[in-house]
């Protein structure tokens, strides 16, 4: 793989910052002493004349996938939803699985940008920008599926609070309508959060731009930002507010998604554990996706000093924790099914594990509960190839989790006479695979043209950014600080 040349000689460079000695804070930015170096390191990706060959290669594949997605969607719209394999009784299958899968992926981005911000986790600054980008692109992919699942896409405005030709309004007691508001709000707020965070960095790119086109393009989106501290003051307040607003929002979005299932009467869906279980699963899958994307991106664009092993190590710890939560939820579902004494509930869970979809249940447990346990070991947590493979496993497992919940419950509900089997068609599979194309196209464009790392935020967490930093090193200030204390 060709990569943008950064610093070919790696002799004497610090690469390991995973130590956990109390009293010694490991640096989050490696091998850099000045703010200018951070700017340079991040901006060189967007400013590079030549794009790495690997980028073109991936972009071509993704574009192909996106094209196929477009074809499948067009075919579906022109022909009807019957081109998918879903039919009575399995009326929700790949489409809703994909919807929940993609929305879930998005949650890690918001967790990193909002919740870790409130918890003052400084390591978030290295990864928040592209995790938020991932959120937005994932929500775009997610929104596609219910949009085309409605069948007659030309009346998709029925989703919105507008009266139809019979002067009837959408039914606000339905969780499906809550979903429209939840996902719509989530997308809007995530986009604003992402953009607001990016404005100072776009200003950096504007001020460094050599060409007229770059200057105008970055300049327009930088909104005339000039780093005024009077602006920074309101900006920081606004950022804190956005984080505080996004935190309950992200928890609510997947809770509302889980209400789509939990408020129904179907055995296997009608459980109170769903909201927290879905949120934990969403964060789990989202972090896996962040690792999947971060590992190649830092390699390809030479960002190893900013997205360090410590960042990846921390993310793997979160994968481990949320993986255990998900495993607990799986066990608790079984316990409640037994403890409730409801025969349909009991059957639904036995059927999940040993019924016609036993293989997907097995895949789900293997990928989501067993593989993350490897992250108990630091050597595995900090090994790039292992974490990459494990994150892929988690992605697969979390897709199957949604498949298991949705399809196995619908296929075998109360009366055996109304049971059925779901088999995907090529359009089902094509749309799903194609959505990855759409996602990667957007992500690759983002990597190439937009500052992939929050430059201003990374600078602010460097030790040099502390106004008292020099007190500990400088000779002139030493006496001052001692006299002061």
């Amino acid at each position: 793989m060709t990569s943008i040349p950064v610093d070919p000689h790696s002799g004497g460079r610090v690469t390991d910052n995973t130590g956990n000695h109390p009293g010694h804070r490991e640096p989050l930015v490696l091998n850099m002493d000045t703010f200018g170096q951070v700017t340079q390191q991040v901006c060189q990706v967007a400013e590079a004349r030549r794009t790495p060959m690997a980028w073109y290669f991936l972009f071509a594949i993704s574009l192909g996938g996106m094209g196929f997605l477009g074809f499948c969607v067009l075919y579906l719209i022109l022909t009807g939803v019957g081109v998918w394999g879903l039919n009575n009784p399995v009326m929700w299958a790949y489409d809703i699985t994909n919807f929940v899968f993609w929305v879930g992926i998005g949650h890690a981005g918001t967790l990193i940008s909002a919740i870790l911000f409130l918890f003052r986790q400084k390591w978030r600054t290295g990864i928040n920008r592209f995790a938020e980008a991932m959120t937005i692109f994932a929500v775009i992919c997610a929104g596609l599926f219910p949009g085309i699942h409605v069948g007659r896409v030309w009346v998709v405005y029925w989703l919105f609070p507008l009266p139809n030709q019979m002067e009837m309004w959408p039914q606000f007691r339905s969780p499906l309508l809550w979903d429209v508001f939840a996902v719509g709000t989530y997308f809007t707020v995530s986009l604003m959060f992402w953009f607001t965070g990016m404005v100072p960095d776009l200003a950096t790119l504007r001020d460094r731009a050599k060409g007229k086109i770059q200057q105008i393009a970055y300049g327009a989106f930088a909104l005339g930002w000039r780093g005024s501290n009077r602006h920074w003051h309101r900006y920081e307040r606004a950022y804190l507010l956005l984080a505080a607003l996004s935190t309950p929002l992200v928890l609510s979005v997947h809770s509302v998604v889980s209400f789509d299932f939990a408020t129904s009467q179907l055995p296997g869906w009608h459980t109170t554990i769903f909201p927290p279980y879905f949120v934990a699963g969403a964060i789990f899958s989202g972090f896996a996706m962040v690792v999947t994307l971060a590992v190649p991106a830092r390699e390809l664009f030479g960002l190893k000093d900013l997205i360090t092993i410590r960042h990846l190590d921390n993310m793997n710890k979160i994968i481990l924790v949320t993986g255990c939560m998900v495993g607990y939820a799986y066990a608790m579902e079984f316990f409640i099914a037994w403890y409730s004494g409801a025969i349909y509930e009991k059957f639904a869970f036995l059927n999940r594990a040993f019924g016609q979809y036993w293989w997907s249940y097995l895949l789900m447990v293997a990928c989501n509960v067993i593989t993350p346990q490897l992250f108990w070991f630091k050597a595995l947590r900090t090994s790039i190839p292992i974490m990459f493979v494990l994150s892929l496993f988690v992605n697969v497992g979390m897709w199957f989790e949604r498949f298991v919940i949705i399809v196995s419950s619908l296929a075998n509900d109360f009366l055996p006479t109304s049971w059925g089997v779901f088999t995907p068609t090529w359009v089902d599979i094509g749309t799903f695979v194609g959505s990855f194309g759409l996602f990667t196209v957007l992500f690759l464009l983002f990597c190439r043209f937009i500052p992939m790392i929050a430059i201003a935020e990374v600078k602010a967490i460097m030790p040099q950014a502390d106004p008292h930093h020099e007190d500990h090193h400088g000779d002139a200030h030493e006496q001052d600080s001692e006299a002061g204390s």
Binding site: W169, R173, T185, N229, H233, R237, L241, K459, D466, P467
Partner: protein, 201 residues
């Protein structure tokens, strides 16, 4: 902080008016020290431009805390009320009202649930609260900051471009009552910056 256009400068383009003086510093510690002195010297129309928010600079400059969070609270409240009214109107009433066209509510009776199902209306009320708050946060933040704007006199300075990279600037505007080109320059020199530059309006 948008500067009112100097009419005299427009009429006589030969000698453009002065926007202000900028002094360049290298570290956060220096800018804080400088900011404290500018503040104490009694300047009003001045600013610090930094590549990232420097901790403690707000106090050093004496910036008053923004009212933004209070306004956002009311925006959120209006979101809650909007969502409540929207849902009760469309699902629990048969009133007619004018919203661009005449529309009428539709009292849905779904599985014997009460017409005013507040519990079922909570999720949408919550979401609109967040949506209204977030939209207000971002738009008011940029609005109060006088952004977006297409140009600013400071962008004329090549040196100032490093304000978004690794340099810290003190800007004293010419419209400040205490501003005198030579005296202010001398004052800035006493702060020990690495450079001082005059920026034209």
């Amino acid at each position: 902080m948008s500067a009112p256009k100097n009419v005299a400068a427009n009429k006589a383009p030969a000698r453009p008016a002065l926007y202000g003086l900028i002094a360049e510093f290298e570290t956060p510690a220096q800018i804080i020290k400088a900011a404290e002195q500018v503040r104490d010297a009694g300047y009003k129309w001045w600013d610090c431009c930094t590549p990232f928010p420097v901790h403690g600079l707000d106090q050093a400059m004496g910036i008053r805390t923004t009212i933004l969070p209070v306004l956002v609270f009311f925006a959120g409240l209006s979101g809650t009320i909007t969502a409540f009214c929207l849902q009760t109107f469309t699902n629990s009433s048969d009133f007619s009202l004018w919203a661009v066209v005449w529309v009428t509510g539709y009292p849905f009776l779904i599985s014997g649930k009460p017409l005013l199902s507040l519990q079922a209306f909570i999720p949408v009320m919550f979401e609109l609260t967040i949506l209204f708050s977030a939209l207000t946060t971002v738009s008011l933040m940029f609005g109060f900051n006088g952004l977006p704007r297409l140009h600013h006199p400071l962008f004329r300075s090549k040196r100032f471009r490093r304000a978004t990279d690794d340099r810290f600037f003190v800007v004293i505007e010419a419209r400040d009552p205490r501003f005198f080109p030579t005296r202010t320059r001398e004052f800035l020199e006493s702060l020990d910056p690495i450079s001082i530059e005059a920026v034209e309006d």
